[in-house]
Amino acid sequence: MTQMVDYADAVRRYDPVLGIEVHVELGTRTKMFCAAEVEFGGEPNTQTTPVSLGLPGALPVVNGTAVEYAIRIGLALNCQIAESCRFARKNYFYPDVPKNFQTSQYDEPIAFDGWLDVELEDGTVHRVEIERAHMEEDAGKNTHVGGSTGRIHGAEYSLVDYNRAGIPLVEIVTKPITGVGDRAPEVARAYVQALRDIFRALDVSEAKMERGNVRADVNVSLRPTPESPLGTRTETKNVNSFRSVERVVRHEISRQAGALDAGRTIVQETRHWHEDTGTTTSGRVKSDAEDYRYFPEPDLVPVEPSREWVEEIRATLPELPQARRRRLQTEWGYADAEMRDVVNAGAIELIEATVAAGSSPAAARKWWMGELARRAKQDERELADLPITPAQIGELQGLVDSGRINDKIARQVLDGVLAGEGDPEAVVVARGLEIVSDDGALLAAIDEALAAQPDVVEKVRGGNQGPVGAIIGAVMKATRGQADAKRVRELVLERIGA
């Protein structure tokens, strides 16, 4: 077992280079090459046709919507869109590939030569060059039954579900990502996260990491200095969360540095990521023996998106996440650091909706990044998962703005909403939290307080306003905090005649 090198030490002595392949399942209604309907969670082998089962005689037909989605992705990643491109067959025998070949684009991707600016948490921007984005079909899903690991080794038998077979995928391949140094893990994570946000903004995929809609293969290599030739890379497959992407890069840097320190060479291989131990283990060694015998798919004609169509798609692209962030920051008047915190907390949509519900941007940020962030952290849940909606926060802030409750009461109202007692208005009424703005009721409380503290009255009349607070405090206590303190002060002074 290779000695792991401390991460900071590793990146001091080696220059890491990344390459990331991201697969995204497109959210089309039907599959890449047939009319089988796609829906998450169906009974096994119910979403199939002769085509996606690879039955003799069946032929593929390209899903036009999938092509459109692929072009959208390509354009969002600043890629060139091919005028003509073909599918190829990638031949290999495996039971989850019904035809024993995967129909995939090979040397003629639909999109190529792009880039994406990736912003790290501290605001540093790193440009990731995109090599290509190509279309392909997903494989079925194997379940290995028996044995302890759930892996094929030691299993008694395996089941195959072809519902996933033929779901359209777009694979996005970066050029080598260099010059990132010790920030390599962050860049990797931020890149995959940025892609996920783009997929959602483009509405081409639900892009749920936990469902495997987005999967990353992470390539890492080390070299002594940025001037050295690229080192041998390893490819860690099917990394399914942002956090794991970051951890894989970190782990591989430490592991490879250890191997290189020990004078060993890195083997070009596929590695598996183990979430539980935070380590990778060796998979299959990539060698010349792996020959997919690619050749152009003779059952399909070339895909030739007209320039008019491409421009039409470009013109109707939605606002992308980065541009949207910049626009909203300007509209909301947030400082850079404030905006970054909002982004990192995943609160953009929440704040946007809260503002739409009538709140000021400042108040919306105050709620979501303050009290609500605190409660989310306390409950160990995401902000968006709190049982309160932006509309309710907007309503709550409206109550404060109109002076019907004060900030302190608002927190009690929040408690009520979070406890499921209904909308803010209803909570205010039910809990009787409305500010006492009836001067008569206040005056009664004030007179009572004045009578109880004649010494204070004397002092104030003598020109010392300091002790007025004691009277106000007594009034507030008497009204259970529901009085407007400012008004109480005015009335007290009026009453004393000072």
């Binding site: 003799p56 005689g57 039971p95 015998r293």
Partner: protein
């Protein structure tokens, strides 16, 4: 009483429409004929008598009710076993698909069913359409009705023999390198390979996707046109299907039958005659040329210099595509499943055992060839070069069609050879398709029309020869015009169809 089995589809269709016969009568006549001659011919792998009669009864009832029916409604048909048929076995002549019953119909089968044509059964063929004699079927030989000791051609020997033996007026074939036309030539029947993309390939068990094309197998040129119009035309389920409508094929056949070919230039391809062609085959070919000239056609000689590489290119492209197309036969989802005799039962070992047991030698030979041709490091030298040759052959055709409206040649260099004669010599077998392969490589249409008899070099009874007509892509109508003109001229010389001279097997 007329023997219904000897009538052409066009005549049967007319009699059915006129109410002179019923589909049940016609279908039953075919089934009776099958019962009588099948023991000797073995053209069918599966006979679907009950289903055919049910269709016949249904169409008779609909006709009686005054329903508007397709012109071929009630005319029975046989279908090559490489075409998938819902609820009917479809083995493609292979053990690996023994017992598989497809859950869906090929597009052309849907059209046949929609037209109300009773499907008599599935016809024998070389395994996965690999062969020129039907001897590579896993289910026994089909015998040539002209001489039961001889091959019926291949791969579609079953369809050709069924039609030649009068067990079906019509049949479906598929042609990847000549599998419709060469069996037509050696059995005295008409066979048409349409323009690539002219008939949907959806539901054809693929041999070589860029070469395969289904087409009609019949006894007359007009019958082929009628069937071609039914099964042809655009299909959105086949991406390579031609979107434009078919030309008027039946009209072209009727026009040709009137015998006037004035204004038509016929190009004789220098490279598709002479050496390697039997003298009798060559003689019949030249006589046919004279008849075309008499009908008013102008005959010119054209050269297609790259045809000499066609066979080599074909035997790289076909195995390469086949090696990939046949990968799905692995015992995992359908068909034969063989577990290894000893050792662990893993997916990989089941796949290997199934493929080892399920595929015949010719199939294995071509899978190995194709796998090799696509391998890294060899791709450019083999598959890549073959594709370049393919382009050159297309250019040869383009140039030739600048000089002629149609091109002609003998369909096959020889008459039917004896069963077993070439079984151990794959190269000799492959040479049988030398004249038909270029059309597949270029995607152009071709027809084979029976054009006489020739005594084989070793002596014995005279055997049929075929005349091939080739046309530019999407100009399939020219095949029918020239083919029908030649057929009319020959039949008037012979005083009837060539098949009248075939032995009566009954």
């Amino acid at each position: 009483m007329t023997d219904l089995t000897r009538l052409s589809a066009a005549v049967l269709a007319e009699k059915l429409r006129a109410g002179e016969v019923t589909s049940v009568e016609v279908t039953q006549a075919c089934l009776d004929r099958i019962a009588a001659v099948e023991p000797a011919v073995h053209a069918y792998l599966h006979v679907s008598a009950d289903e055919a009669l049910a269709t016949a009864r249904d169409v008779d009832a609909r006709r009686a009710a005054g329903e508007e029916l397709h012109p071929l409604a009630g005319v029975p048909i046989a279908v090559k076993d490489v075409v998938v048929t819902r609820g009917m076995p479809s083995t493609a002549g292979s053990k690996i698909l023994e017992g598989w019953v497809p859950p869906y119909d090929a597009t052309l089968v849907e059209r046949i069913r929609a037209a109300g044509m009773p499907i008599l059964g599935k016809t024998n063929m070389d395994e996965f359409a690999m062969g020129s004699s039907t001897e590579h079927s896993a289910y026994g030989n089909t015998h040539n009705p002209w001489d039961l000791e001889r091959i019926p051609g291949g791969s579609g020997g079953g369809s050709a023999a069924a039609v030649a033996a009068f067990t079906a007026p019509l049949a479906i074939g598929t042609d990847t390198g000549g599998s419709i036309r060469q069996p037509g030539a050696v059995t005295g029947t008409v066979g048409v390979k349409p323009t690539y993309g002219g008939v949907s390939r959806y539901g054809l068990i693929a041999l070589a996707s860029s070469l395969d094309q289904a087409g009609p197998v019949t006894r007359t040129v007009l019958d082929s046109a009628l069937l071609h119009e039914l099964i042809g035309g655009h299909d959105p389920r086949d991406s390579t299907s031609i979107p434009e409508p078919l030309p008027d094929l039946v009209g072209a056949a009727r026009r040709g039958a009137q015998g006037d070919l004035s204004g038509v230039t016929v190009g004789v391809v220098t490279q598709l005659q002479g050496e390697g062609y039997q003298p009798g085959v060559q003689a019949r070919f030249e006589e046919s040329l004279e008849l075309l000239t008499k009908a008013g056609a102008k005959v010119v000689e054209v050269s297609c210099p790259h045809f000499e590489y066609a066979l080599a290119a074909y035997y790289l492209i076909l195995p390469a595509e086949a090696s990939s197309n046949l990968a799905k036969f692995d015992g995992m989802r359908f068909g034969l499943r063989v577990e290894p005799e000893d050792g662990p039962v893993t997916a990989e070992r089941v796949m290997a055992a199934t493929r080892g047991a399920g595929f015949g030698d010719e199939v294995k030979r071509r899978i190995i060839l194709g796998t090799y041709a696509l391998s890294a490091g060899y791709y450019d030298a083999y598959y890549g070069s073959a594709q370049k040759v393919r382009t050159l052959i297309q250019q040869d055709f383009d140039a030739a069609f600048e000089q002629a409206d149609v091109l002609v040649s003998p369909t096959s260099p020889t008459t039917a050879f004896k069963l077993g004669e070439k079984l151990d010599d794959p190269l000799a077998m492959y040479l049988n398709d030398v004249a038909t392969i270029p059309a597949n490589l270029a995607g152009i249409p071709g027809i084979s029309v029976p054009n006489g008899l020739s005594v084989p070099p070793e002596g014995g009874d005279a055997l049929p020869t075929g005349f091939q007509v080739l046309a530019p892509a999407k100009a399939d109508d020219r095949l029918y015009r020239v083919g029908a003109a030649l057929e009319a001229a020959l039949e008037s010389r012979w005083g009837g169809p060539l098949l009248d001279r075939a032995p009566d097997l009954g």
